[in-house]
Symmetry: C2
C-alpha cells in the first residue's frame, strides 16, 4: 500500500466532522472536487468504503468510524509535537497532560489545576476526563503524563500511588425530609428512590452490600455511571444517592445537601504515571500538591 | 472451546475489580481456592494469561483488560434483562435508557430528566454521559433507547432529529476585567489565556477559524475535551473560554460569568434513536418535552 497522504487524512477527517463534501472543502480551504478526489483515492488505497450517500450528505460507514478513532489518536500525537516545538521555541516551563476519572474531572481537579496554573504562568496543561479504564490506558500509552483513576485496576506499564481514601457522602434533594438529619445510616434509606452509581463498579458492589447487610430495601429506579449526573438528578428531586465527596461538594450549590454516611465506605483512587523511568518533575510536583489539597479538603468535610 | 461458565466470568470480574484473590473471594462470597481455580480454568480455556502476580496482588494483562471491557458490556446486557423482568413483575410504566454528550450530561439534561421522573413515578431511567461518537454507537447497538450527540456525525443504524442550535457563550473568571462588558467579540480575546475545548472537534475548528479571520492571537495554554473542565478551569482564574450555554449556565454559580459572544457560533446537536422501527413512545415523549425545555432555556439567555 502506498503511504497515506496527510492531506487525504485531513479531508477524511473534515468529511466525517461536517457530513458533506461542500462543508469539508470550506473547513480545510480546498475546492469540493479536490475533497472528492482525495476521498476517492483514500478509499481505493485502503480498499474500504468510507462513506454512503444519504440525501445531500455523506454518512460514514462503520469502518470509517473505526478509522476515524485512530486518526484522532494520530492527530493528537501530531498536535503534541507541534505544541512541544512551540514550547521549546518559547522556553515555557513545561507541559503537563493529565487524565482524570469523572469524580475528580467534573470540578474538583480542574479547579485545583486552574489555581496551580495561575501560580505557574509558564506551565501549559491538557486536562481530560475519562473513565478509570481509559485513564490507565492513556497513561500506559504515553498520551497522558499523569492520571487519576480508581485504585484497584492496575496495569504492568503504569506505576501507582494511592491517594487519601475519601468517604462516600449521602446526597439528598435540599427539601428532602432526611435533610434534617446530621448524619445518615443505611436504615434511613428504606423505601427511598435511590440513584445508583455505576453499572458494575467496585463501589457499586460495596455500597449495595452494605444496604443488603442492613436488610434495607431501596427503590432502584435510576442508574448512572457518572457521579455528576447522580448529583444533578438528586438536585432535581428525583432521588437520593451516595457519592464521592469531591462531586458532592462541587454540586452542593445546586439543589442538594451533603451529609456524612455511616458505616464509612471509601472511594479509593490513585495517581498513575508510566512505570518506565521516573515521573517528569512537573508531574511529581503536581501529585504532591494535589495530595496536600485533598488532605485539607477531606479534613474540612462534616464528620458527624 | 467449552462454553464459558458465568461463575468464572464473575470471578474474573471480581479479581480485576479488587486486584487480588482474597478480596475477590470476599466480594462474590466464595472461598479463595474456588476463585483461584476458576481463574486458572478460564485462562486455560481462553488460552490467555489474564493476570500477573505483583507483590501480594494480581495485575491484569492487556488481554485481560480488553476482555474485561467486553465482559462489562455483556453484564450490562444481563442486568438489563433482570431489570426488565422486575419491571414486568411490578408493572412499571416504562424504562428509558439515555446516553448524552458531556455538554448536556454535566447538569442540564440530568436536571431536566430528574424533574421529568418526579412527574412520572413509574418511569425508570438509566442515564449515561458519553462522548458523541460513543453515544452514536450506544444507540446503534441498542444499549441506549435515546441519545444526544453532536449533530454532524451520522450512522446508518441511527435516525437523527436536530435540536435547537445553541450559541456558544463567552465564559470568564468572575473578577476578570472583561466581565464588565455586556457582550464579547473576538478582538476582546487578544492576548488572553484561552482554554480550548476539544482536540479536534468541529466546534474547535469553527471557533479557531473565527479568531483567525479576525486576526486575534490568543495564548493557547490550556486544552480540554470537556466543557465542564473548561468552565471549572475558568472559575479558578486560569483563563477564558467559549462554551455551550448548557454547561456555562450550569457552572455560573461557581466563579464564572457568562456573556453573549458575537459573531454567533452555534453548538449543534441532535436526538438519536434506532433507525429500525419507531422510537418507543416514552422516548418520543422525552424528546418533545426536552426540546420544549431547551427552546425556553435558549430564550432566557442574555442576548446582547
Amino acid at each position: 500500500m502506498r503511504s497515506l497522504n496527510p492531506r487525504q487524512i485531513e479531508a477524511f477527517r473534515a468529511v466525517v466532522l461536517t457530513g458533506g463534501v461542500g462543508m469539508a472543502a470550506n473547513l480545510i480551504n480546498v475546492t469540493q472536487p479536490a475533497v472528492s478526489r482525495m476521498i476517492r483515492d483514500l478509499q481505493r488505497q485502503l480498499g474500504l468504503t468510507l462513506f454512503e450517500r444519504r440525501g445531500t450528505g455523506l454518512v460514514p460507514t462503520s469502518e470509517a468510524l473505526s478509522l476515524y478513532a485512530e486518526v484522532e489518536r494520530a492527530f493528537v500525537g501530531l498536535d503534541r509535537i507541534a505544541q512541544m516545538a512551540t514550547e521549546l521555541r518559547t522556553r515555557r516551563a513545561g507541559f503537563l497532560r493529565i487524565a482524570a476519572l469523572p469524580a475528580l474531572a467534573n470540578g474538583f481537579l480542574p479547579r485545583f489545576a486552574g489555581s496551580y496554573l495561575v501560580e505557574r504562568p509558564k506551565l501549559d496543561l491538557v486536562l481530560s476526563g475519562l473513565v478509570s479504564h481509559a485513564v490507565v490506558t492513556a497513561v500506559a500509552q504515553g498520551q497522558s503524563d499523569l492520571g487519576f483513576a480508581e485504585g484497584s485496576i492496575e496495569h504492568a506499564a503504569v506505576r501507582l500511588e494511592r491517594m487519601p481514601p475519601a468517604p462516600y457522602m449521602a446526597v439528598l434533594p435540599q427539601d428532602h425530609p432526611l435533610a434534617r438529619k446530621k448524619r445518615l445510616r443505611p436504615a434511613d434509606f428504606e423505601g427511598e428512590s435511590f440513584i445508583s452509581l455505576g453499572y458494575s463498579s467496585l463501589s457499586r458492589f460495596r455500597i449495595d452490600r452494605v444496604f443488603a447487610e442492613h436488610g434495607v430495601r431501596r427503590v432502584m429506579r435510576i442508574e448512572t455511571p457518572l457521579s455528576e449526573i447522580a448529583c444533578s438528578l438528586a438536585g432535581s428531586g428525583a432521588g437520593v444517592t451516595l457519592c464521592d465527596p469531591f462531586t458532592a461538594t462541587e454540586y452542593a450549590t445546586r439543589g442538594i445537601v451533603v451529609r456524612p454516611f455511616e458505616p464509612r465506605i471509601h472511594f479509593e483512587f490513585a495517581a498513575l504515571y508510566a512505570a518506565q523511568g521516573t515521573p517528569p518533575p512537573v508531574a511529581r510536583e503536581f501529585i504532591d500538591s494535589f495530595r496536600a489539597h485533598i488532605t485539607a479538603f477531606l479534613r474540612s468535610l462534616p464528620r458527624r
